[in-house]
Each structure stands twice: as structure tokens, then as C-alpha cells.
């Protein structure tokens, strides 16, 4: 139990730490931009509270975007290094996996709450779509990161190239398909399956699949020979 707690704290700190660094960089750039605008605009009237207010919410939004971006990156590159540090301290793969995902959920919840807060402040409707998208992306990257964690140097290279090629191939095929079938038919096909439940179900299946791959790979991860 203690190990789970410790590992959880460690993982949470890792996300927070990485995000803070990202934020500091962006904040620095933002402050510079903020200070430069009146200079460029030529008058100091633009220095109003409203401007500041919108800058703050704008700033938080940016921060959230950065946080999410960091989450994606960490999920891709961290699995193997995290595994090494965990096993070096007698932490089992299961505890490590659990701690990581608990930390991830914590992080996600905070981000979601902040995001909803910003939406409220801006008078927009609070929606879960962004959050859902973030979950889908995070789990996908997590699965990918764990697959990478299992592969050797060569394997990782092959996979990366394969993914990039595959991505372009997929995009090209999709374009061809759309051109082949007339655009109206595509819209019709899409509309027929545009039942929210279908998309929800697909989303759930995808996330479940990603988590399964993530878990499976995590449990099989070993110290590499290279």
C-alpha cells in the first residue's frame, strides 16, 4: 500500500513537473507578448482589466492545452524509464501501472475541472467533448508508449516509420475513398451512423482496447539488453 502511494506521488509529480516546465516556458513567452502588445498598438489604453481578465482565462486555457500536450508526450516516452525506476526499487509492474493510471486520472480530473471553470467564466456551455477526446488520445498514446517500451531499438524504429507511413497511407486512402464515392453518399453514410450511441460505443471500445494493450505490454515489460 505504501509503495502504491509512493509511486503514485512520484508519477503525479512527474506530470506536474513536466507541465510546470512547459507552462513556465509558455508563460514567459506570453508575458513578453502581453507586454509587447501595447507597445505595438501604440497606446496604453489597451491595458484594461478586461484585457487582463481575458488574458488570465486565455492563459489558463493555454496552460491546459500545454498540460494535455505534456500528458500525451509523457505517455509515449515514459513507460520504459518509469518501469526501470519502479523495478529498481522493488515496485511490481502492477503497482506501477496502477499508480501511473491513478496519477493520470487525477491529472485529467484537475484539467477537466479547470477547463469547465474556464468555460463557465466565458459563458460557454460546459461540454465533455474535449475531455472525451483527451481520454481517447491519452489512452492511445499510452498504449503506443508501452508497445515502444517492449521493443528493441530496431523494433522502435520500424514501428515509428510504419506508423508515419501508415498514417499517410490511411489519409490518402480516405481521400481516394471520398473521391470515389460522391461526397453526398459519404455524407449520407456518415449521417446514418451519426447516432450518438454509435460514436460513444466506438469510443468506449477504442479506449478499452488501448487500455488492454497498455496493460498487456506493461505486464510483459522487461529490462532491455541494449
Amino acid at each position: 500500500m505504501m509503495k502504491l502511494k509512493q509511486q503514485y506521488k512520484k508519477q503525479l509529480w512527474e506530470y506536474t513537473h513536466a507541465t510546470l516546465i512547459g507552462l513556465i516556458v509558455m508563460a514567459g513567452l506570453g508575458i513578453i507578448q502581453f507586454l509587447l502588445i501595447p507597445l505595438v498598438a501604440g497606446n496604453f489604453a489597451s491595458f484594461t482589466i478586461k484585457r487582463l481578465g481575458s488574458s488570465i482565462t486565455g492563459g489558463i486555457s493555454t496552460a491546459l492545452s500545454i498540460a494535455v500536450f505534456i500528458m500525451f508526450v509523457v505517455n509515449i516516452i515514459a513507460p520504459y524509464p518509469n518501469f526501470k525506476e519502479a523495478i529498481a526499487n522493488g515496485v511490481s509492474r502492477w503497482t506501477n501501472w496502477l499508480a501511473h493510471h491513478l496519477a493520470l486520472i487525477t491529472f485529467l480530473v484537475i484539467i477537466s475541472l479547470l477547463d469547465m471553470g474556464v468555460s463557465l467564466v466565458n459563458g460557454e456551455t460546459v461540454g465533455v467533448n474535449t475531455i472525451v477526446a483527451v481520454i481517447i488520445m491519452t489512452t492511445t498514446f499510452g498504449a503506443l508508449g508501452n508497445v515502444y517500451g517492449l521493443l528493441s531499438m530496431r523494433g522502435r524504429l520500424i514501428l515509428t516509420i510504419g506508423l508515419i507511413v501508415g498514417f499517410f497511407l490511411f489519409a490518402w486512402l480516405l481521400a481516394r475513398l471520398i473521391i470515389l464515392l460522391s461526397p453526398e453518399r459519404v455524407v449520407m453514410v456518415l449521417q446514418s451512423v451519426n447516432h450518438p450511441l454509435v460514436w460513444d460505443a466506438l469510443g468506449v471500445i477504442w479506449v478499452a482496447l488501448m487500455l488492454a494493450i497498455d496493460y498487456g505490454c506493461s505486464m510483459r515489460m522487461q529490462l532491455r539488453r541494449d
Partner: protein, 289 residues
């Protein structure tokens, strides 16, 4: 707290076609110092990695008491492995490694660890990547000797250490062993230096454990027969000779096993005892008779 034996049960490790470890079985008792010896590439590191769940065996299992150590926090929390492999990212600071050892194993002996780091000339705030090979090793052994675990595995703990630091390490290990008896498994090439440190010795050769017994017992049954070639050959006829060396007219035959007590020893033939290193080379040289 009763500490269970660590049981290595028919562990096999195969990489593609090559069998690196072949049905290896032995027990590690609590509170003993073991030497794990073997030639380069014999599979010692792989074996230690399997015992500590860093690598999976092809077959067989490792248990502590009744439980399999695989994916087992309780068991893994009683073991610690230090090796040449850097388990932390290069930018990690030494003090974070100590802090982790404390948070995950509890009761880390900071006082003693800091004293040892000072002795080895290592700054706690230094980044691991900025340390020399010897300092990296010294940091790892400092942690290994002060971490609260019952089975401490040391894979080449003298890498990059000069003779002064090596002696300091042996001294520190024996000191902490006397104060808090626990099991140490030392895997090293410097056989002559560890001969008197270890109680039992395990020799891994060609994927098998060929020796698993107290050092003293092994040395008591090892002999070096020296003398003129003809006389030595006569005396050792029919006995299992492990290794021979011929220098001019003289021959040396190493026998690890039984001598024939009924045979008279010619005047020109001497029977001497061997040290652990010589026993090791006799057992692991290819081309022994």
C-alpha cells in the same frame, strides 16, 4: 520477522536458439554471504535479473517462502539489485536515488550512507551522469549497503574502483553484515579478493550451476598435483582431472574431487591445495581432461 529462503527453481533462459541458463536450481538462505562466479557471458547478470523480476525466465520460477516473486510487491520489497545498468535517467541527482530507496524500502540508513558517500568523495547533490564510472559504482553500492532489504544482489560491485576503494567496500559490507545480518550475493571477476569474504560459492558455467557449496568445503577437496610429467600422469591415472598445465618437464594437474588415498605418493610429486581462483579456472577452462 522471519525471513524466508529464496528458492530458484529450474530456471531456464533461452534467447532465440541459445540457452543461456539451463534448469538452474539453488536456494539462498537468509543472512549468508554468497559468491556468484562465472566467466564473461556466463549468464550471471541474466540470472540476477531473473531473480529480481527485471527479466522473465523462459521457464521455471523464483519463490520466496510459498510465494512466487513475479509481480509480487512484498517479495520484491525484500530484494535489491545493484548492477552496471543505470536504472535512473542520467539527469537524476544522487540524493533522489537515496530518497527513493527510503520511500520504497523504508528505514534507509541515511547517516551511514552519507558517511560512505563522503568516504568515496561523492557529492549528494551531484547528477549521476556527471560522476565517473568508479563514482557511479560507489554510489550504487552505498545505496545497496544501506537499503532496508533482506537479499542484496551486487553485480560487479567493484567496477571502476581502485584497490583502496575496493577494500573500503569489502570492509563496509562486512561491517553492515555483522550489524544487520542479511544475505549478500556478490557476483564478481575478482575471485581472489572475495575468497575470504563469502561463505558459500556458486559457480555458473555453460548455463549450469556446477558448484554450490561452502568455500571451505570446496577448497578442502581441491588438489594440485605437481611433478615430473610421467609421475604425475601415473598418479592421476583414472582420476578425474579438471585442468592441466605443462611447463617444460613439469606438469601440474588440478583435481577437484576425490584422490585415491591408497596410492603412494612418489617423492618427486607434491600435492598442494588450490586457492579459489585456481579452482575456478580449473573448472571453467575448456579443454580440461
Amino acid at each position: 520477522m522471519t525471513v524466508n529462503e529464496l528458492i530458484i527453481d529450474h530456471i531456464t533462459k533461452r534467447y532465440r536458439r541459445k540457452t543461456v541458463i539451463n534448469e538452474v536450481s539453488f536456494n539462498l538462505a537468509p543472512g549468508k554471504i554468497y559468491g556468484l562466479l562465472g566467466r564473461n557471458g556466463a549468464g550471471k547478470s541474466t540470472l540476477l535479473n531473473i531473480i529480481t523480476n527485471r527479466v522473465f525466465p523462459t521457464s521455471g520460477m523464483v519463490t520466496m517462502g510459498p510465494q512466487n516473486i513475479n509481480n509480487n510487491d512484498a517479495a520484491l520489497g525484500k530484494m535489491y539489485l545493484m548492477s552496471e545498468v543505470n536504472m535512473y535517467q542520467k539527469s537524476t541527482k544522487v540524493k533522489r536515488m537515496l530518497a527513493d530507496a527510503d520511500s520504497f524500502y523504508g528505514k534507509f540508513d541515511f547517516e551511514n550512507a552519507r558517511r560512505m558517500l563522503k568516504q568515496f568523495g561523492i557529492d549528494e547533490g551531484a547528477r549521476f551522469s556527471n560522476l565517473s564510472t568508479g563514482q557511479k559504482t560507489a554510489t550504487k553500492i552505498t545505496i545497496a549497503l544501506n537499503v532496508n532489504a533482506q537479499y542484496i544482489f551486487l553485480d560487479e560491485p567493484t567496477l571502476g574502483l581502485d584497490v583502496n576503494y575496493r577494500e573500503a567496500f569489502y570492509r563496509e559490507m562486512l561491517r553492515t553484515y555483522s550489524e544487520k545480518p542479511r544475505t549478500f550475493v556478490l557476483s564478481t571477476h575478482l575471485i581472489s579478493e572475495v575468497q575470504q569474504l563469502v561463505e558459500d560459492v556458486l559457480i555458473l558455467h555453460d548455463g549450469n550451476i556446477v558448484i554450490n557449496e561452502p568455500v571451505e568445503h570446496l577448497l578442502e577437496r581441491s588438489y594440485l598435483i605437481t611433478g615430473p610429467i610421467k609421475l604425475v600422469d601415473e598418479y592421476t591415472a583414472g582420476l578425474k582431472v579438471n585442468d592441466t598445465q605443462t611447463i617444460g618437464n613439469l606438469k601440474e594437474a588440478a583435481i577437484i574431487g576425490e584422490l585415491d588415498d591408497m596410492r603412494p605418493i612418489p617423492d618427486q610429486v607434491q600435492i598442494k591445495r588450490l586457492d579459489l581462483q585456481r579452482v575456478f579456472t580449473a573448472l571453467t577452462n575448456k579443454g580440461g581432461e
